[in-house]
Symmetry: C2
Subunit: 596 residues, 2 copies
């Protein structure tokens, strides 16, 4: 596998030029100067490139093994690499200072996450889950729970997990059956949990002193359905009053999964209460477990989108390196590397343009999250509404595209791409999980086209479309970029029209009241294409400005080529979703799903 | 893994209704009645479903191993499954009676191949390669070589391989270095080969008594480049004058590859001449090895397309079975299997519509091959020209779509799709090779947009477009199907316009004389979408006719839904390639491929 080089130049372009470091001007980020951000990116790039990246292929080959004592052995080097991360203070960079973190803006934290996932997605999952646990605890935990658990989670010496799925409860969590039995008063105010959870990422390992499981379960007297579900904290080791670790709790790793990819990430079946019951503590309100989980899931979904971009970046680099090295055939009469063949160049530019575009959109979304948390009155709400609309797009579109980009990366390698030792295939295998977990991409599409669009009648998305139109106008005014502006304006018009059509779907009689579900995925794809193209239109304007100001850095010329590709080669394919939506999905109405 | 059921009903629909069994009316197929064809399909379905299919998952898990004696151990059951195939006479069904085969039409042979690949793609590769060897020998071998080798290859007791690739010679075979040294006159008229070949499918195994390697190599005095390359036959065991097997030849399996998929198919590095040289016999003319290879490659490409369709069919069945079984969430207030959720139904119908469409196009192409070989004067040439245009489309489009269909199949499974034991992931891993081998899909696109289109100025494709237009008109005349007709007519117009644009590309100055290469892949994608939609338009007309004639078989209703989806949901996405082509690829001109 080619070594991974964190894309610092492009991350800086997005933070400094596209986002104009606006997050740094928000209250609370006074100490985060552009110089500091640059230093953080450089340092993270070193960790990603030198420590995490080299373990990616070996981690895949070795995978994780469950020992006879119920423990899980990670691939060689993973414990040290995780500890280098924790000791470097990376786990807390996006966590507020009040909770013991560095309190850097989300745009910076997201940039660091992308580098780490690009270097080693399987390892990157560990802190990603911990971040979710921190979020849930910080928002909903009692002061006592926060005092006992948060500092260790923030510093990364303990890690966190999310225990949602059970065999009968996947996308539909209302079916959760794990029981949480209140303990007799004399024992204390905790619960004893009994049940089995599956697909628990980093559910068991030796990289941290303790593991803090956040578990959805229901009390014996709880009502059926969503409203009976509460959230519990179940530590692997109980924590004594003085903060030291006590007894092993009654939660064990029953097995680990044999998966298509992310072999270095242990995916566990956890068994709660094989003995007296796993001791757990209620987090937040009884019966509001799902709501509490969803608080944090929005941001977890953004992180999965970022993860897709990390893998896409690595797939780009891998394909570029191979194409620049592999001599085959002739171009203009002389021997050439395959990077000179136009069909291969087309694939490479497609991979690069899409990865850049996804990154710009995901960081734009992160910037909205910064404003939503730190901005002034009025702007906070607007930013949150935009982030709410963007998050399902970032999650689903980035991860779908990442699979396609990784698959194209395999194709660039020709026959070598199919050989595991080359490394391109691993990226495809790893990428394939991201459209599935943290809410399948179908669920993201329903979230966008259903909940997010319906609740404000499309107002937040309409605001974004106006921005797209403004960028299209700017492009049209620039002689060289006018064709990009035409294309982007057409895309904005398509998205606007499709949005109206989707908003009207409640009344589609053929498909019944859930008609909107049939249109959700094509709609999300259209939104993703248009919003990504928008970001690349903005990137083209910035690149032209830099050149006009005298820069002859090849980066800007490459960015203009990528923008041209994104707006004129990639966007048209996405725009076709308008026709798809307008044709209507009546064919689904009486289609009978049967086996031959 | 769910059991595989060969899609006999749909194959019969294509052969009987879409193709109206026209191949059976050709001279040479007098004995192939519709009843016989039906019996053949049923019998092949049994072999596929009962013998080959159950070994698909175990073959993947076990894979192949190279023994210390240089032999290769196949997964359990593969030898018996191959022998059941050979003993059943399946290897010769498409081979002419003159060569010892059954001489059935290509449409029937292709149907059988699809079932077998759907059942077990890794095992299906063995006879696929043998078919190539038969073809090469039958066309170019001397009478003596044919007499010694063809009967055994046709009956399947010996298998064949294609030895093209060397580390420095992949897509560019002019770089082949394997040497073929003529033996002194007293030894005979054979050669001794020295060199190494990689990626040799089924290069070594114990399923057959002998393996017949067809090898590209060059004589010591041969010119550089393509014209110095000749084709040689190198048997694993030498063959005595009486037909019995003699000494082991000097060709050995140096290693086998560790691949993303098709683990049950041994992909070997073969070493020729580690000792005195591997004895080989010239096939055809000296210096025309590449031409001889390409004779057969056209049909091998069709077979790879068929293979993609087989895997796509299995992915459909797998996803359908899971979706019909998995209860999750509610539809209209009651618990439902996920097959009832509209977003999942959309995925299922998309998979089904595309698989049906690809099958219909591939068999239409096979029917053209039948006419090209057996038709009357005049019609043979037209049919061959159509097949020449269709083959790169069938190969590339079917295999690209198969990857996407298998990936969508994983998605339908949710988290279970990522778990290897479920079986959906294997189909994606297996499918991923098909866009790469037998000429990458980029090479197929160049073959279509470059060679095939340029040599007749697009005449053959224009003939097909006229047929598409005729179907569009028929659809428009049917009140219920008018919208499908509109969509298809628009697709035909796009393909016509894009073809003109591609034909003009010779003069595109920005990209130089190879400009056409930049447009080849989007053009092939457009052609694939339009031609597949055409077949589904024809299928809709046939389904309506069957219903009008009183049939209430659910098959026809499902076919109408699939046709609606193909023409109104899938075709628009493909049509976007016209915009892509018309936007021009100037962005590739000065894009500098660099690493970060």
């Amino acid at each position: 596998m080619f070594p991974f080089v964190a894309p610092v130049r492009d991350l800086r372009f997005v933070l400094e030029e596209l986002l104009e470091h606006r997050s740094l001007a928000l209250p609370g980020f006074e100490e985060a100067s552009p110089d500091l951000v640059e230093a953080v990116l450089e340092e993270a790039a070193r960790l990603a490139g030198e420590v995490w990246g080299p373990l990616n292929a070996s981690g895949d080959q070795q995978g994780c093994t469950r020992r006879s004592d119920g423990g899980v052995t990670l691939p060689d080097g993973f414990i040290e690499a995780y500890q280098a991360y924790a000791e470097g203070g990376w786990n807390g960079i996006g966590v507020s200072e009040a909770l013991g973190g560095q309190g850097l803006p989300e745009v910076v934290a997201s940039s660091v996450q992308e580098m780490l996932h690009g270097a080693n997605m399987a390892l990157g999952l560990c802190p990603m889950l911990t971040a979710g646990a921190i979020e849930a605890l910080a928002h909903h935990g009692s002061d006592a729970l926060k005092a006992s658990y948060l500092p260790k989670l923030v510093e990364g010496s303990w890690t966190g997990t999310m225990n949602l799925t059970e065999p009968q409860a996947g996308s539909d969590l209302s079916k959760v059956r794990t029981r949480a039995v209140p303990c007799p008063d004399e024992e204390g105010d905790h619960f004893r949990l009994f049940g089995q959870k599956i697909f628990i990422t980093w559910g068991e390992h030796d990289a941290a002193e303790n593991i803090v499981h956040l578990v959805l379960a229901r009390k014996p007297d709880a009502p059926e359905g969503n409203k009976g579900i509460s959230l519990f904290l179940v530590p692997k080791f109980l924590v004594n009053a003085d903060g030291s670790l006590g007894e092993r709790n009654d939660v064990t790793c029953a097995s680990i999964e044999h998966k298509l990819g992310i072999h270095g990430s242990p995916t566990c079946t956890l068994s709660f209460g094989d003995g007296d019951g796993a001791i757990g503590y209620l987090v937040g309100e009884e019966g509001r477990g799902l709501n509490h989980m969803f608080t944090m899931m929005n941001e977890a979904r953004h992180k999965v989108g970022i993860q897709g971009i990390g893998v896409a970046e690595r797939a780009c680099q891998h394909a570029f390196a191979y194409a620049l090295d592999r001599v085959q055939g002739k171009v203009r009469g002389r021997e050439a590397t395959i990077s000179e063949h136009l069909d291969v160049r087309r694939m490479l530019l497609s991979m690069r343009a899409r990865t850049d575009a996804l990154r710009a959109l995901a960081l734009y979304c992160a910037a909205q999250l910064d404003v939503a948390r730190h901005g002034g009155d009025g702007e906070r709400e607007v930013a949150q509404a935009r982030a709410d609309v963007l998050i399902p797009v970032v999650k689903a579109f980035s991860t779908d595209q990442a699979v396609d980009i990784a698959s194209m990366g395999v194709q660039v390698h020709g026959g070598m791409g199919f050989i595991e030792e080359t490394g391109a295939a691993q990226l495809l295998r790893d990428a394939r999980i991201a459209p599935i977990y943290e809410g399948t991409n179908g669920i993201q599409a329903l979230d966008l086209a259903g909940r997010k669009l319906q609740r404000d009648g499309g107002a937040a998305l309409a605001g974004l479309i106006e921005e797209v139109e403004a960028t299209a106008s700017e492009l049209r005014e620039d002689g060289e970029l006018a064709a990009l502006g035409e294309s982007l304006a057409a895309g904005a018009a398509d998205l606007e029209a499709a949005m109206q059509r989707v908003l009207e779907q409640g009344s589609d009689s053929e498909l019944g009241p859930d008609a909107i579900q049939a249109y959700a995925t094509p709609f999300l794809s259209l939104a993703g294409h248009v919003l990504c193209a928008w970001q690349m239109g903005r990137a083209a304007l910035k690149a032209r400005a830099a050149q006009a100001a005298g820069s002859n850095e090849p980066f800007y010329q490459a960015k203009l080529a990528a923008a041209d590709f994104a707006l004129r080669q990639w966007l048209p394919v996405g725009r076709a979703n308008r026709s798809v939506i307008e044709a209507g999905m009546a064919c689904l109405a009486d289609y009978e799903v049967t086996l031959p």
